[in-house]
């Protein structure tokens, strides 16, 4: 019995938390890939930027991280649209490999700009220790984990409503299906691209803020989760936002569950190698089912 509670407290709940964060990041990656046809390496940096913006807003106002979240998302979205205008738009008609490389350069530039503006020392979004909620005398849930999963789920519901109910959301899915046909249909493709950056940037910021709320703010944080976020997008099926949500949860859970002592009483995978789990899963998916769970685009 004790083992079960340990499993829930130390593996399942953290997996759910990490998974919701990955899911938010992966939606942006998959939307940019579906609509603009390139893997955006700078996506992790949007997460980092969102976290730093939130840190500044909290320092200025003293508000709770969730209270500053919408503004941090908005500012990051504006920056993402600005980057697209200045750096990606000139490559719109070029082979996508150029965009991939441009995004790689953008990743380094944004990270350096963050280091230059905020410094490289660790920061926290919230100080002090919170009492965990205790269920059935044994399951301990940190309130901030409830907040993180709740916020992530709420954002995913909003994205679902945008994609399935609004004209712009449907146009985004249409363009993800076929950019050529979208043009022939008269869909304003530049407007769709702008909205893709807004949604992708805002969700990346949310992922960054929630990750920073769970751990801390650090200039490499976005880059460190880029691999699991890509793995989640590929697992879900490239270009499939719902796949990205499921993929994120699976990758997050897999990373945490891999450190559970499934055999004997030492962790199956030492926590130090946790990041390798996403990598192995990503290679596995690319080998055995490159189209992912939701049958997305293949390379």
């Amino acid at each position: 019995m004790y083992a079960l509670y340990d499993f829930i407290n130390f593996h399942f709940i953290p997996g759910l938390v990490l998974g919701s964060i990955y899911a938010l990041g992966a939606i942006g990656v998959t939307l940019t890939f579906g609509i603009l046809r390139f893997a955006n390496f700078a996506h992790g940096e949007s997460m980092t930027l969102g976290a730093y913006i939130a840190w500044t807003l909290i320092t200025l106002t003293g508000w709770h991280p969730i209270a500053v979240l919408p503004l941090a998302m908005l500012i990051t979205a504006v920056v993402a649209v600005g980057i697209d205008r200045g750096f990606y738009k000139p490559f719109r008609a070029a082979p996508t490999i150029m965009l991939v490389i441009a995004s790689f350069g953008m990743m380094l530039m944004v990270r350096s700009a963050i280091q230059f503006s905020w410094g490289v020392q660790l920061k926290s979004l919230q100080s002090g220790i919170q009492q965990p909620l205790i269920l059935f005398d044994a399951i301990r849930i940190s309130p901030k984990h409830v907040v993180i999963v709740g916020a992530a789920l709420a954002l995913m519901v909003i994205i679902h409503l945008i994609l399935s109910r609004t004209k712009m959301g449907k146009a985004m899915r249409a363009m993800s299906d076929s950019p050529e046909l979208a043009k022939l249909t008269g869909i304003d493709t530049e407007q769709v691209i702008r909205n893709t950056w807004i949604i992708g940037g805002a969700l990346a910021a949310a992922a960054g803020v929630l990750l920073a709320y769970d751990t801390h703010v650090e200039t490499m944080m976005g880059f460190q989760v880029l691999l699991p976020v890509f793995a989640a997008a590929i697992l879900g099926g490239i270009g499939k936002p719902y796949g990205a949500m499921i993929g994120g949860l699976i990758i997050g859970l897999a990373e945490e569950l891999a450190t559970y002592p499934w055999i004997g009483d030492t962790p199956l995978v030492s926590p130090g190698y946790k990041a390798g789990v996403a990598f192995v899963l990503m290679i596995g998916i690319l080998l055995w089912r490159p189209s992912g769970i939701m049958r997305g685009r293949t390379f």
Binding site: A174, L181, K183, T185, G186
Partner: protein, 238 residues
């Protein structure tokens, strides 16, 4: 009779290769005009020329007498020209109804009455409106593509091989649909491989060979023309 669409000595192609060498074509109000010709003759390319998808090196395209040469596709759509390409003509992951809604993307008014008309014209689409369009049969997908184009209540409809790959039963249905659409007042310019059936419902037809006009005439003239018959109407081509 007023000319809704006119291609006047249009030349152009992809990159540096010229595919169309000064072709002339027009569609008058209320007409069904059919374009036939061998594979690679430039039939699809001629449609792309109307739609601003091709860089024209010479000639002009006019819609209701207004020059639309090299107008980008999104503006051509706004001016009331709808085009159903030969392949890749539906959003496979969107539901049937969402495909039709996207057809109305540039409309800012209430498009629901038009949606209702399209469901009346294509009853199977109403039945399957929540299904992903990519899961439909070939004939039904063609209905989605046509319905999507009609959402705009276009001035003219361009169809590129609407019956390609369909069984004879569906082919007949598509041709009768084309007549229904036309009877509602929409002029149609249609490329077809099934030349006999297509010319049968056409007011006029053009034969394109190697990017140039070859023969033109009324549907009946072309059907009776021995050269056309030999080239396209024999049993050789399915």
């Amino acid at each position: 009779m007023s000319r809704v669409l006119e291609l006047d000595a249009v030349s152009g192609g992809y990159g540096d290769t010229e595919i169309l060498h000064g072709i002339n074509m027009h569609v008058e109000a209320g007409e069904i005009v059919v374009v036939i010709g061998p594979n690679g003759a430039g039939k699809s390319t001629a449609m792309k020329a109307v739609f601003g998808l091709l860089n024209l090196t010479a000639g002009s395209v006019r819609l209701d007498g207004v020059d639309i040469t090299n107008t980008p596709p999104s503006d051509v759509v706004k001016q009331g020209v709808c085009y159903v390409p030969q392949t890749n003509n539906i959003f496979a992951n969107l539901s049937v109804e969402e495909n039709l809604e996207m057809g109305a993307f540039v409309r800012n008014d209430d498009y629901r009455p038009q949606l209702e008309k399209i469901y009346q014209m294509f009853p199977p689409l109403r039945e399957k409106r929540q299904q992903a369009a990519g899961d439909l049969s070939g004939g039904q997908r063609q209905m989605v593509a046509m319905g999507k184009a009609l959402m705009l209540e276009p001035k003219i409809l361009l169809l590129d091989e609407p019956t390609a790959g369909l069984s004879p039963k569906y082919r007949g249905e598509i041709f009768s649909t084309v007549r229904t659409i036309n009877a509602a007042g929409v002029p149609i310019l249609m490329v077809e491989q099934n030349a006999k059936q297509a010319l049968g419902i056409a007011d006029r037809g053009y034969v394109l060979v190697d990017g140039s006009n070859s023969v033109m005439g009324t549907g009946q003239d072309l059907l009776n023309n021995p050269n056309v018959g030999e080239l396209f109407l024999g049993g050789g081509r399915a």
